[in-house]
Amino acid sequence: MGGFLVQILNGLQYGLLLFLISSGLTLIFGVMGVINLAHGSLYMIGAYLTYVVAGATGEFWLALPAAVIGGLVLGAVLERILFQRFRHRDHLDQVLLTFALILLFEEARAALIDNQFHAVQVPPVLDFSVPVMGGFAYSAYRLVVLAICLAVAACMVAFVERTRLGASIRAAAENPEMVDLLGIDARLIHTLVFAAGTALAMLAGALAAPLQSVYPGMGDGFLILSFIVVVIGGLGSIAGAFWAALLVGLIDTLGKVYVPQLAGIAVCGLMALVLLWRPTGLFSRA
């Protein structure tokens, strides 16, 4: 029984990290109508940035704001230079463009840092374990990551539901044309949303660095999963991304435990079921 509860904890922690990545993706889809296959690369960039910052300053905690600020800047730059122009191009162009971005990000990382695997140490203050049950202990750092993800989720919901800017974003996600008519600066919203989405993905990478280490291709698995989360949750819905991410995290983790060879298939199967029932996602407003 203890083992099962620990696995639930694992699934939730994985799912919350997944939520951080997927929330940005779903907003970008919903608000801007743009597909970004390079989203997983942003996660990787956040992790490598953490490795560099933590290595240079010796302080892991500095990496988190670095990832967030770096993400906001990178996202804003990408949006202004590239995505703004490609919003209206067809899917094929967007797929290939963002696929090219993946390759170029990999090359940039290889040139600026390297192609190696790097371990990032858990901050010393959290480098202990909390006995959970049944002879198993949980790393304190993992619990803190869980808490941080929940806090970010709460802030996002509060921001989107309670503030005027949040309302504009919700409106833009639901009905892009209306936003222009209402006189809200759609371009500003697009830049903000893209920047926020990028920052979220990079923050996830930063938090995950001590948990899964830093290596080329570390974002590949999360990219697919985040797409599945967005399809299940519904384009543009943060609540949808939240619940879908938790669900996917749990199914993936429990799948790895009980039917290890079928875990990946199980997650895709979950998406298939949702598509049968609600082709536009569980929480979509369409």
Partner: protein, 304 residues
């Protein structure tokens, strides 16, 4: 989507003859390269039915390609190519028929993402389970042909085999796109709702295209397995699907023969890139950017 005039087809035919003559003057390595390009052309051409003809951008194509390839592995020992080839076609068609109804429930971005996820599901099937011999890939015994092929004759024989397959696939599709089915697909690409309003069973048409496309991808995968004698789960990865899209873009979405041009162009660019630098990703990334930004109509539309 435009089809070549008979004169255009004649030019393609001449190029095919040049390739067919390679066993007389070319090095084995270059014949291997030509085979790589031909298989890639078949793969991209199979996707063109969805992308160019019907306007459905799918990232699942590699999954069907891989099923076709792995079918050769699953046949096991010495099976005749006259069995393995229809076997691969059939297996891929079945997979497409199973996935099609699900993925076609979605439209637009959802379709793109759902196709990506289903393609990955097929990837996991061969990567995570022992069905395909494991994550590392396996070397396979080639199917037997009409008479035995010696090691030194392989590059030439496979070149001709792949050339024949591509030619048949292309001619078949060239004819198909001129029928009512082809025109209906074109109508769906332009305005799906209007076609539905006009009384066409759009779902069935799309599903038919999806299954045909998947089956032909399986054929391409079969040829890849026969040529390389090696299959690995990476054949089903979505990056491979994206490469098919790239070849279509390079060659021109608007033309049926575009994927063929795109496949050869990409193979050539890659080969030149390999001899020049180790940074292959950079080469590929720049090529894609250039294609998306500059080649609005692809190589096929160059002189228009």
């Amino acid at each position: 989507m435009t089809r070549l005039t008979p004169r255009g087809n004649l030019l393609l035919g001449l190029a095919a003859l040049v390739l067919a003559s390679m066993p007389f003057w070319a090095e084995p390595y270059h014949m291997q390269l030509a085979s790589i390009a031909l298989v890639a052309a078949m793969f991209a051409l199979s996707l063109q039915i969805l992308v160019g003809a019907a306007g459905l951008v799918s990232l699942a194509q590699a999954g069907f390609f891989g099923i076709g390839a792995y079918t050769v592995y699953l046949f096991g020992g010495r099976v005749s190519i006259f069995i393995s080839l229809p076997g691969s076609l059939f297996a891929a068609a079945v997979a497409a028929a199973a996935i099609g109804p699900l993925v076609l429930r979605t439209r637009g971005f959802y379709f793109l993402m759902a196709s990506l996820a289903f393609g990955q599901m097929l990837f996991f099937l061969f990567h995570d389970t022992s069905l395909g011999g494991g994550a590392d890939g396996v070397f396979i015994t080639r199917p037997t042909m009409i008479w035995p092929v010696s090691r030194s004759a392989r590059p030439a024989v496979f070149l001709l085999l792949n050339l024949a397959s591509l030619s048949l696939m292309y001619l078949g599709l060239w004819w198909l796109m001129g029928t009512m089915f082809g025109h209906a697909l074109a109508g769906i690409k332009i305005n799906e709702d209007r076609m539905r309003a006009l009384g066409h069973d759009v779902q069935r048409l799309k599903l038919a295209a999806f299954i045909l496309s998947g089956a032909l991808a399986g054929l391409a995968g079969h040829m890849a397995a026969v040529t390389d004698a090696f299959v690995s789960p990476e054949l089903l990865d979505w990056h491979h699907s994206a490469e098919a899209l790239l070849m279509i873009l390079l060659g021109g979405i608007g033309a049926l023969h575009g994927p063929i041009l795109g496949a050869f162009a990409l193979t050539l660019v890659r080969e030149i890139g390999q001899s020049v630098t180790e940074r292959q990703r950079l080469v590929e990334g720049v090529v894609i950017l250039a294609a998306v930004l500059l080649l609005r109509r692809g190589l096929a539309g160059w002189r228009r």
